[in-house]
């Protein structure tokens, strides 16, 4: 897609998620100070910011894991977000596989909750089919029966990503999911997640402190200030894919974001 076309597309895209005037305090510490931003449908949005600026807190609030101190309702398709009503998925930085379930049953976990707790209309067969398809898509076919302790850290994150995508989430939150991986595995996983996202087209909010990663992945990057965090800049990344880390345009954007994030 050309630069101009991409910008044109943004204008017409539908707002999927809306965060407005979000405030979070931990005791006397003001962490998030009136954070506002929107995410478009099927967009890959990265949130960058200095370490400890409240990025994880922000995701946890959007996911409903912790309450905001004060905020306009966080909207998803115009309705207040609710994990019981909307399909939300979360890929954590820490390995989150359940050690007593094998790869296949781990990937199935979210769907099981949707069926058993939220009574979503799915047959066993449909679930098995969806799971098989995603296992194939993330390339874990030969590891279905393996337990988490038998597979590598990169594979565990692939299981978490498969588990997150298989529920067809309205919103997929990723909190530095490759933070614990070594550099090569991280490059590989970045490519993989783009490939899967390209196929399944979901709305993604991806938090990272790694600016290169953000520029590689995102359609737009939101830069947060240091504490108390606020939106410092919103930067559309109009580079064609697949992107090259060494492309001068890439480097230019990376430098620009780095200068924004810099707090030293």
């Amino acid at each position: 897609m050309s630069k101009g076309a991409r910008k044109e597309a943004l204008k017409t895209e539908k707002v999927k998620i809306q965060v407005k005037n979000l405030i979070k305090r931990f005791g006397d510490l003001l962490v998030l100070d009136k954070v506002s931003f929107s995410v478009y449908e099927n967009e890959f949005l990265c949130i960058c910011g200095p370490t400890g600026c409240g990025k994880t807190t922000l995701l946890n609030i959007i996911a409903g894991l912790i309450p905001a101190t004060d905020s306009a309702p966080i909207l998803i398709d115009g309705e207040p977000i609710n994990p019981q009503r909307h399909n939300i998925s979360f890929v954590f930085q820490e390995p989150s596989c359940l050690p007593w379930r094998n790869v296949r049953d781990n990937i199935k976990f979210g769907l099981e909750i949707k069926k058993e707790v939220l009574k979503q209309n799915m047959t066993e067969n449909e679930i098995e089919e969806k799971v098989s398809r995603i296992i194939n898509l993330v390339g874990l076919d030969e590891f279905e029966e393996y337990y988490p302790h038998q597979i590598s850290g990169g594979m565990k994150q692939r299981v978490a990503i498969a588990q997150a995508f298989v529920t067809d989430p309205d919103l997929l939150l990723m909190d530095e999911p490759f933070g614990y991986l070594d550099v090569q595995t991280r490059y590989y996983m970045e490519k993989e997640v783009l490939r899967i996202w390209g196929k399944l087209k979901r709305t993604v909010i991806f938090v990272t402190h790694n600016i290169e990663e953000a520029v590689y992945l995102a359609e737009r990057v939101i830069v947060l200030t240091e504490l108390p965090a606020n939106v410092k800049a919103v930067i559309p990344i109009d580079l064609p894919r697949p992107r090259e880390y060494t492309d001068p345009e890439f480097v230019k954007i990376r430098r620009h974001i780095t200068s924004l994030v810099k707090w030293w």
Binding site: L65, S89, S96, L98, V117, Y147, L173
Partner: protein, 261 residues
């Protein structure tokens, strides 16, 4: 790894032989009619196995009866200890509120309960109660203390997908704590089994491994070998039960690196 297992076996045979030698030497030095040596004990075992005890009860009867008594006490300890442990772990107020009752009772040895047990209970319930006392606390405490160690990330994964508390307890908390619960059960059955002598001291019946020892202890100097046979049997059966539970743990928790022994 294989080398460790093989050399382990060899060393164990040597250790066992060394122990028997030491026993024989001590027995020869002590030269007491109350202390049987290895040969006397072996003879006593053969006679017990062949003819039964002085009242004609066979060894298998003694073993079987003791196992049933311990089994009943242990089952009761699991039935009460596991749900109560879960409850105390999930609702910390239950434990905090009952601490002043639970904690002191935990440190009263089952033997100290004997006089009260005689007054309050009769027959089979006496055995079951004393074994229960021994087995209950390890099971309760292990279950209870394992709950705060459930990985919060696992709970958050379930919450994000829209799970409710009941589902999280069934599908995250219980599988997470199960290894600890089983470890507690293993300790519990060990302690419960060790209480069997105390329990059978006060039961009226003349059968049971504990009773077997007491029976011969009441005839001092005449059957020292039989007493040691009773002791050894209690030790070996305890070991077998422990090993059996370890095997169950390994099967059940094949998803873990290894079961900590």
């Amino acid at each position: 790894m294989k080398d460790v297992v093989t050399s382990g076996k060899v060393l164990n045979v040597l250790a066992l032989l060394g122990f028997l030698c030491l026993w024989q030497i001590v027995a020869t030095l002590v030269k007491s009619p109350f202390f049987a040596d290895v040969i006397q004990t072996a003879k006593a075992f053969v006679s017990l196995a062949k003819y039964g005890d002085i009242q004609g009860y066979s060894l298998l009867t003694h073993i079987g009866v003791s196992l049933i008594r311990v089994g009943a006490g242990f089952a009761l300890a699991c039935l009460i200890g596991i749900p109560l442990g879960l409850l105390m772990g999930l609702y910390p107020l239950v434990y905090e509120g009952a601490k002043s009752v639970i904690e002191p009772i935990r440190f009263i040895p089952p033997i100290a309960w004997i006089p009260l047990t005689i007054v309050l209970l009769v027959g089979f319930s006496r055995y079951a109660f004393l074994v229960w006392l021994g087995a209950f606390f390890p099971i309760l405490i292990n279950t209870f203390t394992s709950i705060p160690r459930v990985n919060p990330i696992h709970i958050n994964v379930a919450r994000v997908y829209g799970s409710n508390r009941g589902y999280i307890i069934r599908h995250i908390v219980i599988p997470s704590v199960l290894p600890e619960v089983l470890a507690g059960m293993r300790v519990g059955i060990g302690v419960g089994w060790m209480c069997i002598v105390a329990a059978e001291m006060i039961g009226g019946e003349m059968i049971g491994l504990g009773r077997l020892i007491l029976k011969y202890a009441e005839l001092p100097g005449q059957y020292p070998g039989e007493i040691i046979v009773g002791m050894i049997l209690i030790g070996i059966i305890g070991l077998v039960m422990n090993e059996a539970l370890i095997q169950i743990e390994k099967r059940l928790f094949k998803w873990r690196w290894e079961v900590v022994v």
